[in-house]
Symmetry: C2
Subunit: 352 residues, 2 copies
Amino acid sequence: MLDKDKVLEALARVNDPELHRSLTDLKMVRDVQIRGGKAEVTIALTVPNCPLKDQIESDVRVAIAALPGVEQVFVHLTAMTDEERKALFGEPKEGAAAQYNHVNRVVAVMSGKGGVGKSLVTGLLATALAREGYRVGVLDADITGPSIPMLFGLQGPVEPGPVGIRPLQSQTGIKVISMNFLLASEDQPVIWRGPLIGKAITQLWGDVMWGDLDYLLVDLPPGTSDASLTTMQSLPVNGIVMVTTPQSLAAMVVRKAVHMAQAVKIPILGVVENMAYFVCPDTGKQHFIFGPSHAGEVALTAGAPLLAQLPIAPQVAACCDAGEIESVTLAEIPALLKAFIQAMPVTERRPT
Amino acid sequence: MLDKDKVLEALARVNDPELHRSLTDLKMVRDVQIRGGKAEVTIALTVPNCPLKDQIESDVRVAIAALPGVEQVFVHLTAMTDEERKALFGEPKEGAAAQYNHVNRVVAVMSGKGGVGKSLVTGLLATALAREGYRVGVLDADITGPSIPMLFGLQGPVEPGPVGIRPLQSQTGIKVISMNFLLASEDQPVIWRGPLIGKAITQLWGDVMWGDLDYLLVDLPPGTSDASLTTMQSLPVNGIVMVTTPQSLAAMVVRKAVHMAQAVKIPILGVVENMAYFVCPDTGKQHFIFGPSHAGEVALTAGAPLLAQLPIAPQVAACCDAGEIESVTLAEIPALLKAFIQAMPVTERRPT
């Protein structure tokens, strides 16, 4: 016969989808009433307006309905108080989210030089990976000049979760975090000296509820100072994608970034050349606006393959300005994705 | 009759062209021999291979030759020893050059975003000012990603002068300093945290023998962190030129830079939009590759005039890659220069 213990046993097998611990373990089960074949339970969400509440409710319903003798299931949702949350997870502290996150691979997108298209390449790679079914996150490490929010059409504020900040989700489900989501206005400058920049990056890593990700792409700012240094030293970066353009000027600065990556012993997975050429829409002719390619030399210096050469495409710029990078189609993307995945070092896949 | 005292009096009126102190005051006069109408002097340069030695020799010759009774002048050049130099200028110390420099106007070129063409605008403005006869210096404040050396075709090392580092001189006489001139190789990365970046910038200002300049242009790196902050707080910046491109993305980040400038109360002189359009060489048609202009909005936010809209010109990119920015001609430059000079706040001109 149906009884309270059987229901609690069933709920002990239901996990919070973010925290990967059972609802009973998380003290989320507040009340169980059995009357004949009717089971009525109250579940306390870790935070009010939890974005996963529908999934939790449905998981609870399915688990109870599967028990013999159940005819009706009623699920009521409530939320923990601040005190209850603190009792369970402790006082909010730095890096608290990290222990609940499972990020299989971290890839930094770098160039040394600004404006070569790091954010574009990050966004295109993230989109291509997500389309293939990978779970993808993007950490915008450009604290003072973030481009990622606009490319994905995302604006803050972000919501707090039980153990950290929740990233925003893009149209195709990519989890995105950027300093811009934490500012009152996107025009607000972050006038910080380097150590604070470094600290912000470790927080966007350890205080964000990334959950389970196959890939976390980190969009680095220009330069080889605090943001790049902290990312490479404090995050478990598996490899670097180096972005360049045909200008010799860019190639020189990118070689500096290559030497930095080599100095901190992080493998360079490959080189992407952006703005390689412009196809005139009237004549179909390729114009090498920024001069002949230097990507081969950069790849040689990096000891890594040339993953792709992307054109200057007005429709891509238009999509990016409209926050629709996930709608970009470029003939070069499938080959870029394939080369990128091939270049990834083999890592042990963590159980999720 | 010609005697030693008369020669010494004449030499007391000859100034070292960099240090603006007389040769006698600087203890550079080592020996004076008079035989009838023949005067023979020995001058100790402050450093061996002083780049101004020809001018010093000629100034000495002219001053002595003007004395009554002089028939022949012989000038011998030697150089001070390290000990003599130390006795005169003291131990090398930070900021020692600054007291000998006379820089009338300091203008920072900024954008917040990378790759929009700050260095290009800096180089074009410097060149245009130099062509008009102004004495111009360029301080490359992009410590980790310097572009200025390549644009001007300059490579280090720099030579020490008596009270600091001598900037390199471009083909048209622009004085240029960049972190790259201090590195063993231009591919070497500067992997420094922010405070060192800030310190480097104050040194490129105070430890460099800028001499007399009408304009010092400071090419800032992307972002609103250490380099920009130190430049604005530690250098006597008269105004800022803000560079943007048509992409909304750039406009957003540039607005951050505008708000930073406003926060530290430095006037924005004007806005330059770069990469505004591309003229197809086959058809002559303008293509707005990076979308419609947002420069008007940026100028509005900045409360400053739009100084110029520059095209994407392959011949400009080629000149820049060849180190020949001083050969660039663009129809927009005369108007840019005029607008720039008009936008400069009136400052008291220091005596030089």
